[in-house]
């Protein structure tokens, strides 16, 4: 019996050590960040573009809020917000966002920027879609020739967009040529390239990814717009002050100008077009 008690005590001590003994990582955030930590849940596509690595440290300096950026799919980001596990969201899944706001999980929502989706595929283009500007037409061509198409199938903003495009084309993509990867945009582009399939990608991730044997085939259609919104989460544990400050900050003229310049030096074209009207 005594041995059991000792074992229990050892266990508790060890757990306490884990809870208290670890390096105080909240103290590692930049000097002058005394508020927060605010959790920003955003999408892999914004993180992979490098935009947040640029903006978040600046926001920490300007606001004094320390930020933890979690990059997940838009679906998971909204889920984190719904449970109050994040304070502010930067997502691109307009219909799901509207639903989210309608069910009262958000305090406010504002347009930040957009980029666009592109349809990419093999250079020899077996479905003959190159040069078009309508995604729905391109998808119809792919389905008709049964050329392989890779879907992220991960409930991300890109995946939601892709499914709505199939619906607009009147096609139910359930066939052997329709590959569901269940992974992020970068991984899915790699799989698409290896299988010489088609896929829908946001422009930024496609431009930033190396080692791809894929061509940009369809771009510019109105059905390919990819708008990002910032949402302040509703919830009792939410750090609303920092979240609201982030919303105001990222939609301010100064930061909007910077978003417009982001990526120009590296890719020769901007990755995002600012959307907030002043």
């Amino acid at each position: 019996m005594r041995r059991t008690a000792t074992a229990v005590r050892t266990l508790l001590t060890a757990l306490l050590m884990a809870a208290c003994g670890g390096d105080d990582d909240s103290g590692q955030s930049k000097a002058g960040t005394d508020k927060g930590p605010m959790i920003l849940a955003t999408t892999t596509s914004t993180q992979d573009s490098g935009l947040l690595d640029d903006l978040v440290p600046r926001f920490q300096e300007d606001s004094g809020c320390s930020v933890k950026t979690i990059a997940v799919g838009s679906g998971e980001a909204l889920e984190l917000g719904e449970k109050g596990n994040a304070d502010v969201l930067l997502v691109h899944s307009p219909e799901a966002e509207q639903e989210y706001m309608d069910s009262g999980h958000g305090v406010s929502r504002k347009a930040v920027m957009h980029n666009d989706f592109v349809v990419v595929g093999p250079a020899d283009d077996p479905a003959g879609i190159k040069g078009g500007d309508s995604a729905a037409e391109a998808f119809t061509g792919i389905a008709k020739t049964e050329a392989p198409f890779a879907s992220r199938a991960d409930e991300s903003g890109t995946n939601t967009k892709e499914l709505s495009l199939w619906e607009a084309a009147g096609i139910e993509p359930k066939a052997s040529w329709y590959i569901e990867t269940g992974q992020g945009m970068g991984e899915t582009l790699t799989i698409t390239s290896q299988k010489q399939a088609y896929t829908l990608s946001d422009r930024g991730t496609f431009l930033a990814a190396d080692n791809l044997d894929l061509d940009l085939l369809v771009e510019g259609g109105t059905d390919l717009l990819n708008p990002y919104h910032v949402i302040v989460v509703e919830g009792e544990n939410v750090d609303r002050a920092c979240a609201q400050e982030f919303l105001d900050w990222i939609t301010s003229p100064k930061i909007q100008d910077e978003i417009a310049q982001f990526g120009v030096a590296e890719y020769g074209e901007p990755l995002f077009i600012p959307d907030a009207e002043g």
């Binding site: 992979d48 933890k68 992974q183 582009l189």
Partner: protein, 217 residues
């Protein structure tokens, strides 16, 4: 390069801390399982051995459900922190350490505990003597626990969040680079991570082999 070293240091810190705590938890449990002859210990031994096979992503999910703000331990604010990651890795490494400890002690001559007791050893003296006899497998347990912790990516992603500059470790960084298609960077990080694992295991192995040589002399 500074960024790589920072991430590398974080990996080493999290996994070494987790291994140390997992040793404190796992070795006593494994010892008890090896010595206990009472009902129920068989079930626990099976549970420990099953624990060695739990996917790290499942451990991560369960720990995250507990630590998220919406979870029962949300007030501790451990989600997306190094401490949270250490807790998850302790749960990953401890069953491995307990299992190998148990097997190592059971491999000792079966009559050894009774002989030591006949010589007048009390329980703490008995246990310490057995640990000294089994020091080679115990060091193997430490190395296996550390190896499991430093190489895992499932719980580090969910519990840590791969936050740049805060909770990003080598494995989650490699996954991010693969996701971006930066295979070159991913391979460089992988090589550096292996170099770290090699260094730490070289130290432990040299201790272990010296201990083994001493046992034979």
């Amino acid at each position: 390069m500074d960024a790589v070293l920072e991430v590398l240091g974080r990996s080493a810190f999290v996994s070494l801390s987790a291994t140390a705590i997992a040793l404190v938890l796992g070795v006593p449990v494994g010892t008890w399982l090896a010595l206990a002859r009472r009902r129920g210990s068989g079930v626990l031994a099976t549970a420990v051995n099953t624990g060695m096979a739990i996917p790290t992503v499942v451990v991560g999910l369960v720990v995250a459900l507990l630590l998220w703000r919406s979870g029962p331990l949300g007030d501790l604010e451990l989600i997306y922190t190094l401490r949270g990651m250490i807790i998850a890795q302790v749960l990953i490494a401890a069953p491995l350490i307990a299992g190998i400890t148990m097997a190592g002690l059971q491999a000792l001559p079966a009559e050894l505990p009774d002989q030591l007791r006949a010589l007048g050893a009390n329980t703490p003296q008995l246990v310490v003597r057995l640990w000294i006899e089994a020091r080679v497998p115990l060091l193997a347990a430490a190395m296996a626990g550390f190896g499991h912790a430093i190489s895992e990516v499932g719980s580090a992603t969910i519990v840590g969040g791969n936050i740049h500059g805060q909770t990003q470790v080598m494995t989650t960084s490699i996954v991010e680079q693969v996701g971006k298609g930066d295979f070159n960077d991913a391979l460089v990080y992988a090589a550096i991570l292996l170099a770290l694992a090699f260094t730490i295991n070289a130290v432990l192995t040299s201790v272990q082999q010296r201990a083994a040589a001493w046992a034979q002399s």
